[in-house]
């Protein structure tokens, strides 16, 4: 697999943006300016980006409570997201959604979701729409290893097979659902992908900390889905660097686990290590992207900090289109 320089640099920029967005949130949350509870995507960058770099605005994704990475990878406005997470009135969702409910349907981002497992059937519906429109588009449900135990996820996989639509189930296995290990909660004999297979779907597996692996396997999957018009699944082995939510003391981790993961499973490091295999990119170019991204995130944070707060008078707006 060879990639164009543009493609290589874009993918890196996307991952760097997610990483820096999340690392910065981790700091900002400590200051008490960010309301509610926040789930950081740090560590899983290669998963979102490895999937979404294949998509355009008409492909659709449905996300989870840990949605910042998916949103950025799908192209949501980063400043708008930052403002939303700070709860500001011109945030991407007018401060009404917050971290767990960011969406931009105009670019095929159908929504982060606070209900574990709720998104999977929605992706099937979006895929039904895509099939009817006959535009070759796909709909993707991101789910965690925990979400793969929710009945809706199973129903969705079965329904997708029955109706034969281009729905794709991306399982990001970061080995934890909250404070519980995947080895406990997923009682399956093999892995999550094998569950999808039992529903009559083709399933792939990839290293969700390695952009190149995820991107390549996802490409094969998409070729299959676009050609056959059938659903498919992929399990991405990935890692979460922070707690389940910010504030989680993470007593369930092994000693030194996070340090080890940051050493061996860091998507950005792995990208730098491997990028030479896929095209000519200079480390200095990546460094430049890092700096540009840092400046962009800086700007987004200060814009968010200085943005107008929500106006209480707007509390009952947009409940309906017309009532």
């Amino acid at each position: 697999m060879q990639l164009s320089r543009d493609a290589l640099l874009h993918a890196y920029r996307q991952m760097a943006t997610i990483r820096q967005f999340e690392e910065r949130l981790h700091e900002e949350i400590k200051t008490g300016q960010i309301p509610g509870f926040t789930h950081l995507y740090c560590g899983q960058e290669a998963a979102a980006v490895g999937v979404c770099e294949h998509l355009d605005n008409e492909d659709m994704i449905v996300s989870t409570h840990r949605g910042h990475g998916h949103c950025i990878a799908k192209g949501c406005d980063v400043t708008g997201m930052m403002k939303e997470i700070f709860g500001k009135r011109d945030g991407l969702c007018k401060g009404r959604g917050g971290s767990m409910h960011i969406a931009d349907t105009t670019i095929g981002m159908l929504g982060a979701n606070g209900i574990v497992g709720a998104g999977a059937p929605q992706a099937v519906g979006a895929a039904i729409a895509a099939k009817l429109d006959g535009n070759g588009k796909v709909a993707i449900a991101f789910s965690g290893d925990g979400a793969c135990n929710q009945g809706t996820t199973f129903e969705a996989m079965n329904l997708a097979v029955v109706v034969g639509v281009p729905a794709i189930f991306v399982f990001e296995n970061n080995h934890y659902s909250e404070h519980t290990g995947v080895g406990y909660a997923v009682g399956t004999s093999r892995d999550i992908a094998s569950r999808a297979e039992a529903f009559g779907m083709k399933a792939w597996r990839a290293n969700g900390c390695d952009f190149f692996d995820t991107y390549k396997v996802m490409g094969e999957l998409l070729d299959y889905v676009r050609k056959e018009g059938k659903p498919a699944a992929i399990e991405l082995d990935t890692e979460r660097f922070y707690g389940h939510f910010e504030g989680d003391p993470q007593r369930y981790r092994a000693k030194g686990e996070v340090e080890r993961l940051r050493e061996t499973r860091d998507a950005l490091k792995i990208y730098r290590d491997r990028v030479g295999e896929f095209g000519p990119v200079d480390m200095a170019e990546l460094d430049a992207i890092d700096s540009e991204t840092a400046a962009m995130i800086d700007a987004a944070v200060s814009e968010a900090q200085n943005a107008e707060p929500c106006d209480p008078a707007h509390v009952t707006e947009d409940v309906y289109v017309a009532y």
């Binding site: 959604g97 929504g111 209900i115």
Partner: protein
Amino acid sequence: MAIMTIRDAINETIREAMRRDKDVIMLGEDIAGGAGTAGGQEAIGGIWGTSVGLVGEFGPERVIDTPISESAIIGAAAGAALAGKRPIAELMFSDFIGVCGDQLINQIAKFRYMFGGNTRCPVVVRLIYGAGMNSGAQHSQAFYNLLTAIPGLKVALPTTPADAKGLMNEALMGDDPVMFFEHKALFGKKGEVPEGLHRVPFGHARMAREGGDVTIVAFGRMVSFAEKAADALAEQGIGCDVIDPRTTSPLDEEAILDSVEQTGRLVVVDESPPRCSMATDILALVSEKAFTSLDAPPQMVTAPHSPVPFSKELERAWVPSPDAITAAVRRTLDWG
């Protein structure tokens, strides 16, 4: 104007909508029927007969038979709506809202608000409901109160063929999610149905009877029971306003308050058990907003606080009766 049943009015309205708008699609269990069988598709047309002929005309891509997976049905409808379609999802019995409740109350109902107002989710969920056919505790409930309680959902309950058409058209042409409750005992009810694109706006009550002495607000099948009671009372010289709100969310508060201002007496008839019901909703409305108009304590005629029983005798005792309505009207008149 053609005379037809509510069943046929719904079928025809959906058919016309699907002809008019290629984005209208349907999902549900056995709504075509016969998928994967020797008899083949369209063996059934829905167990209620409301989708007869639709798969033949529009094909299985638009009239989608699903596995028994209500969460996936409503969830898929939600996703298709976010992607620009206008799905009609059928819940064979409204009793099944618990199986797919999250997709109704936390998903469809909230997308627009929590996503900042840029999203539309025009799903129409058809919920077949109601007691009276000895279907037992899990197949007889009238859960419109539970969904009326949820901001973001609209709730319609047609009681005539004309309203079935008009409210369904309104639901299918609007941009909000609509919970469309169809009483199983009313499917065979006949009436005139206007031709063409007949629409009934939400939030506009129908005055089923005008009488002026007592206001009766009734929901769904209870409207006809209230009419029966009103007719009997009329013979005794007592005039009842019978108000059929047609939608509970939005609710035509004005029609109710106006009538009570004139009559001073209110009876609400609701097929649900009493607690946190539409009956309490209307009593609260009136006592808060038309307090001085009330000349007698407002009355609720509801099912008791129990599940729906199976046997004929028990179910008959459970469902509010025209006699109970008459008695309640009399109580308001005999007051003080």
